[in-house]
């Protein structure tokens, strides 16, 4: 099963990118285009209402986080429990450098993104160095979430601490105002395209191989370590970019936005809904979660409890995610009807 060196290597090596490329670029990127069009037209549905626009942007942002998590976890099985911390770190760095350092957004946002990417790579590297399993990544990243929160508190003079601070960096850019919606649509579409690009590339093939059977992949010559680190870096960069852009759009930054119990929990629910490893799942999941979030707003802190229940239920009964499970079920029904 895993110890038969010969068959393991053979099973993985022969058809790499060619197999993915069997699906023509048209078919692969069509969903991305469709999503782009739908999202671009969405504003018509809320007719200029700032409220719905805000809601939609939040949905886009969570979808973006979810795609990043999809690449890290769905692609290489690394459970990064520090999305909020990564996004928050990038955001704070970008804000501080812009406001206190006087650097332009075009410099500070990439810097924040790079920092997040570096950390993502670091965490992956640590776990990979010793060929260790899921647990260590989970623990290290969770610890980092704690570190992030404490750093924000500790560097109060820089960060404004618990109360947060106003962000002026985005004024005058497309990140403010009605256009901001399209900025985030562009971001999300770019992420979707990136996801597909990775999936169809050498990277995606390597990811599938090492998720399928790590030992066989190693023996087939795949440098598992390198791919894990790449996934960690890319995903973390995406999270960092999203976080930084978001605060410059919002005009306000505080640790609560990037709290583990705020951001990470919602991203997990998004993926539990939408399915880990599906392209459009994050969007569907994010839409569901945004609606749910608004609907439950009067409950305040109790929402955390609801999400906890949702997570447990979903991972108990819909291991693949609600969307894929339902999709599979409808396929089965359709097949049965055909006969």
């Amino acid at each position: 099963m895993g110890l038969d060196v010969q068959t393991g290597a053979d099973a993985v090596a022969p058809t790499p990118p060619e197999r993915a490329a069997i699906v023509s670029p048209l078919r692969a990127y069509a969903p991305v285009v469709v999503a782009a069009v739908v999202l671009a037209l969405l504003p018509l549905a809320f007719g200029g209402s700032g409220y719905y626009r805000t809601l939609a942007i939040i949905m886009l942002v969570y979808a973006a986080y979810a795609i990043a998590f999809n690449i890290i976890f769905g692609g290489t099985g690394q459970l990064f429990l520090c999305l909020g911390a990564l996004g928050g770190l990038s955001a704070y760095v970008s804000v501080v450098l812009t406001q206190d350092g006087g650097l332009p957004l075009l410099v500070t946002v990439p810097l924040g993104t790079l920092l997040a990417a570096a950390l993502g790579a670091l965490f992956s590297w640590v776990a990979v160095r010793r060929n260790l399993d899921v647990i260590f990544i989970g623990i290290v990243t969770l610890a980092f979430s704690l570190v992030f929160y404490n750093m924000v508190q500790g560097l109060r003079s820089l960060t404004g601490g618990e109360t947060g601070m106003v962000v002026t960096g985005g004024t005058g850019t497309p990140l403010r105002g009605a256009v901001s919606y399209y900025v985030f649509v562009a971001l999300l579409v770019a992420f979707l395209a990136l996801y597909q690009l990775i999936d169809r590339s050498h990277l995606g093939w390597a990811f599938r191989a090492l998720k399928n059977d790590e030992l066989a992949a190693e023996l087939a010559g795949i440098d598992v370590a390198r791919y894990r680190i790449m996934a960690g870096a890319i995903g973390a960069a995406m999270v960092g970019l999203t976080g930084a852009l978001y605060v410059h759009h919002e005009g306000f930054i505080s640790p609560s936005v990037f709290n583990f119990a705020h951001l990470d929990v919602r991203v997990l629910v998004v993926l539990a809904f939408g399915g880990i490893g599906s392209l459009l799942g994050p969007i569907v999941g994010a839409a569901a979660v945004s609606v749910l979030d608004e609907f439950l707003r009067p409950l305040g802190q109790l929402r955390l409890a609801v999400y906890g229940v949702v997570l447990m239920t979903l991972f108990l009964f819909f291991r693949q995610g609600v969307v894929p499970t339902l999709a599979a079920a409808t396929h089965r029904v359709r097949d049965r009807v055909r006969r």
């Binding site: 640590v126 623990i139 290290v140 560097l155 802190q301 906890g308 229940v309």
Partner: protein, 284 residues
Amino acid sequence: MAIVLDGIVFGLQLSLLAVGLTLIYGLGGVLNLAHGQFAAVAAIIGAVLVGRGHAPLVAVTLAVLAAGLLALFIDRTLMRPVYKLTGEARVLLSLLLTLGAAFLIDGLLIYYHPSTALNLSVPRLGLDLFGVRMRGSSIAASLVAIVVLVGLMLFLRYARFGKAIRSIIQDEVGAQLCGINPGRVRTVVFVLSGLLAGLVAATQAMISSVGSTDGLNFTILALIVTVVGGLGRVSGALVAGLLLGIVYTLASFHIGAFVTFVILLLAAIATILVRPSGILGKVS
């Protein structure tokens, strides 16, 4: 010197907190991310009972038992499907399900008791140790921790059930062949971990207040100690707890609270890189 002693006091709490977690891992290869929440629940229940006029000792005992009960409930419900899986799938599901449980408990606690906290006052006697004046609360907390930890070590080493626990960690199949039921043992240990977490809430409450928001912190601290001590090694958790307690207190005093956490994270990372089986090295 005073700081080192304070570090030991804190370290004992950390050891107590981590011991249950590391045992659960050793027995079943799973991690309970709701561990800290057991302590938080105990703290809140204790605080509520004390607030209603019950004697602190009674309140705390009931609170610790409640934590144990909660652990029993989670083991019987969430952990059943987890143990049916093996390897990485098992670990993942345990992390995700217990995370969900942690969110549920935190959400409920923070919503209904946002500012409730447990505070236990200990008689004001002081004691001189190595020339340092120790507060009654520190002494009490440490004594409880020492007694329980020593008791646990003795139990694991000499009691028949303790040996059964160790046997499962060393060779689960062998244990089954000896007529030991791993599932039942895991449940007992899970409940034990809940009781221990509840106990830490009580001992910490002697020193500072423990409230509804402390759950996640406790969990993460316990996780770091567990990793540094070596997953599944009780003796490792003990040593790591003391060590990290001292490091934490020293760093907190000299540098500042927030950098301390960075140091703890670095300690965990360093352990993984240099001594993945924990500071005590490989099990012979």
